[in-house]
């Protein structure tokens, strides 16, 4: 098969790259290695939550924070992608979300401060409209609501923490019964999300909430399970029925909020005629004379070559197999280049789990055009571009910047691929 651009990956970076190529009118093939487990721990697009991995104060204006970061660290992947890619990529994605029927909000000039399932305020730049009424910069009292027997969102834990960390308003916790579910039955967030699309179920939950005599002006925080395939309608109907502003909080995996996003965007690409190659792990890049001739996929025991004029490699870090860690050497799966070497594997892991992790920082060295570079800074292949988490030198966990980086680099890599 021969196409203009082959995009490899299933995360936000791959989707942004595929959309960028699609919008340019050129042909794109999306090679989808399978649902990455990171989906299940994703919800919002975090552009830059904190200036460094350990800074205490959240960033209010991500555009300003980014400008400072880019000025200070010219080698940072955000600096290589450039401010324009952040801005244009974000606009492209917000428009796409709208076209695809996803209601999202936010701008690069203001972070929301949204409560998490542990009751921590977290800075996020773009979020589903169903989450934004939880913004802690607003003062209205909050009632957090869980379900009897549901372990994956704990309103009591979250409320108790939020009371301590958020000084602006009142917080309380309630639990209601989800009809048909209880402590004696195994059920997941996805089961609840499907049930919420049923009006009887929804109204039974809302009715119990109304009976809880929630105070005037209070908003209700629910686990992020308000609908799966028709979230907009489900959310609006539920909020109407409750009679208070409602917001969702992402649960422990599976995160329905992430599934909605990724499923809808992927389907929208398919509806637009984009070819997708399913569940084939990348095996090698065939490089001659400094150009990649094909990417070999391993499928059902044989190698399947994908040929394109240029390539965007957008696997998201370890979870997608973007990097392969041997005992001492970390290599990438395309060029099999060593990207890091450690005397002992323990060197990859900080002593504390919650510290900035060395392993998060491992990845491809890049040229200014986001090409993967060798140790001398020369591109490994002129027509290959990197996007997403597998870039050296940044820590998405500490700075809360995975989504923004994925969009900026996905957009920029696609632009470069189109120009190559």
């Amino acid at each position: 098969m021969k196409t203009d651009v082959a995009v490899i990956g299933s995360g936000l970076a791959a989707l942004a790259a595929a959309r960028t190529v699609q919008q340019s009118g050129r042909r794109v093939v999306l090679v989808w290695p399978g649902l990455s487990s990171l989906y299940f721990v994703f919800a919002t697009v975090d552009v830059l939550g904190y200036p460094t991995a350990t800074a205490a104060d959240p960033i209010d204006d991500p555009a300003k924070g980014l400008a400072q970061l880019i000025a200070k660290q010219p080698g940072h992947p955000y600096a290589r992608a450039g401010m324009k890619a952040v801005e244009d990529g974000t606009s492209l994605m917000l428009e796409w979300f709208k076209d695809a029927g996803l209601a999202w909000e936010g701008s690069l000039n203001r972070n929301f401060l949204l409560p998490t399932a542990t009751g921590a305020p977290k800075p996020s730049c773009l979020a589903p409209a169903s989450m934004t009424a939880g913004d802690l910069r607003r003062p209205e009292p909050i009632v957090l609501c869980g379900f009897v027997g549901y372990q994956d969102f704990a309103p009591e834990l979250a409320a108790s923490n939020l009371k301590q960390q958020w000084k602006a308003g009142e917080v309380s916790a309630v639990r209601v019964t989800a009809p048909g579910y209880g402590p004696d039955r195994l059920f997941t967030s996805i089961d609840l999300a499907r049930s919420f699309e049923d009006a009887t179920f929804r109204d039974a939950v809302a009715g119990q909430l109304r009976d809880k005599l929630i105070g005037d002006g209070a908003r209700v925080g629910m686990p992020g399970v308000l609908g799966l395939t028709t979230p907009n309608e489900t959310f609006a109907a539920f909020q109407r029925s409750v009679g208070h502003p409602v917001f969702e909080i992402p649960t422990i995996p599976p995160s329905v909020i992430a599934l909605r996003l990724f499923d809808r965007l992927r389907k929208h690409l398919q509806e637009g005629g984009i070819e997708i190659i399913w569940a084939a792990p990348a095996h090698a890049a065939d490089v001659t004379d400094g150009r990649c001739r094909s990417i070999l996929l391993k499928a059902a025991g044989h190698e399947l070559p994908v040929e394109a004029a240029s390539y965007v490699l957008a696997l998201e870090d370890w979870v997608d197999g973007a990097l392969r860690a041997g005992v001492h050497t970390v290599r990438d799966p395309f060029f099999h280049q060593p990207v890091a070497w450690h005397k002992v594997p323990t060197d990859r892991a900080a002593e504390s789990l919650f510290a900035s992790q060395p392993f998060e920082q491992i990845g491809y060295a890049l040229t200014d055009r986001l090409q993967p570079a060798d140790e001398n800074g020369k591109p490994l292949a002129r027509n290959v571009f990197i996007a997403g988490g597998a870039m050296a030198g940044y820590d998405p966990s500490g700075t809360k910047s995975r989504g923004g980086m994925a969009i900026a680099t996905g957009y920029r890599a696609a632009k470069e691929a189109l120009a190559a």
Partner: protein, 552 residues
Amino acid sequence: MPDTSTGVVVIGGGSTGAGVLRDLALRGIDAILVEKGDLASGTTGRSHGLLHSGGRYCVNDEQAAIECVEEGRILRRIARSVVEDTGGYFVSVTEEDREWEPRFVEGCRRTGITCERISIEEARRREPALSKQVRTVFWVPEDGHLDPFFLVVGNVESARRRGARVMTHTEVSGFLRDGDQVTGVRIRDSKTNEEGTIACQAVINATGAWAGLVARLLGVEVKVVPVKGTMVVLSRRLAYAAINRCHKPGDGDIVVPGLSVSILGTTSAKVPDPETLPIEWDEVRRMIEEGAMMLDGVTTARAMRAYAGVRPLYDLGAEAEGREMSRNFAVIDHQQRDGIKGFTSIVGGKVTTYRLMAERVVDVAARQLGVGTPCTTAEVALNDREEPLDQLRHRPSRLGVPKPHGDESPLQPLLCECELVRPQDAAPWFKDPAVRDLEDVRRRTRSGMGPCQAAICSYRLAARLVTDRDVDGPSATRAMADFLETRWRGVRHVFWGSQLRNMQITTGLHMELFNVDRQLSEIPEPGENLPPPLAGEGQGGGRTPAEIAGQR
């Protein structure tokens, strides 16, 4: 803490101390167990969990082998709910191993260990993962897997049902004496530093590698040699049975299957201090290389964590060191040896022989107290019931097919999917004052010990601290973070391959989705200390054996 009194104070909450407590309780002697950490948090919980047939010791340590044979048979009778009866193989790989074989066969014969040489084809049929390098295979049906946590908890709960008390996270800081008679102990809460005393007629020192430190508080010497052993946990089961190298016991020559994982063990290195057990990369590497000589898949399976424990070898004065030292045990009657009345130490030994060790030391203490009731721990089942417990009720069967769940719904909610722990398995422990943090819950339920290493269940457990124990959110969050950090300390020593993929889900969830890293900076330390249970709530003790068995 309030002062109290009892007949016997047992120091040490490992298998020996727990066995001693139960033995005392069965003889009708009032007792309190005092443990500075949690039950099974020292040597026992850091063992590899091999229920020894005795084959490992039958050549060089005949007495220890004979004890293993007898005690293994007793444990299969009294503690069926904690024994996974897998059997084991002794396999020869090198020419040197082949030379060991006649001595091994002769050792088994002399010590009464059932041992049968089987053809290599038959062995491969039973254990397809046996490495191509394996040349000879002996089947030793009485090797097995012993869950060290449930063994200790089972003993302690059995004793509690008979009125014994247990104080965890409580350190003995000194002794009360009246001349040469020990009359009690001074205690200190390790978490709150509150102090108190327990008056008693006798003290049994069952602190294993720490026995010398405890004896020193009385000015007497007990020579214990702490010998570190490092183990590596693989995230899947490579063999059904225990696999031993047929040679002189050495490093990395056992692979123990335990429920869903395989444990590679172990190394042997003298350490100056039983508290400080650094895991060296060379040890981890050696475990994997040696394990790979016996089983295929050792190098490709995901190494899930590494941990180190300390053997409490007793210095009998011989020249021997480390592995050469006997795995025998000794009862030290300090009245006879040092002229101190009411103090007895039990040292050496191993988890497999814990019951016998307890019997012997309680014999001495009971005689001193004038109690003539004989020991019955070899007859009375740990769960106090006749019928065997189906320990694998919630586990995949050996064929990998889920077992029928009887009259229970097959789709019950789980608190920990990896270890198949249900919410009701954890619930009683939140009411138990001996349970002070989430690590304590883990040891009693196995929650957090599986492939995801607590990424998921840590949140659910923290949530229950708030709802079931009235802990505030910040303390519960700190407990959750501490729990994850403890798991992480074992994980980071085997940080290659798909381990990184797995841990990125943990950091993705707790840092990117929850923002726990920033939340922790808002929570003052120490937050790990959980308040006692609500007034009027019962203890976790006295639970039925079925409840305890259900935890597996």
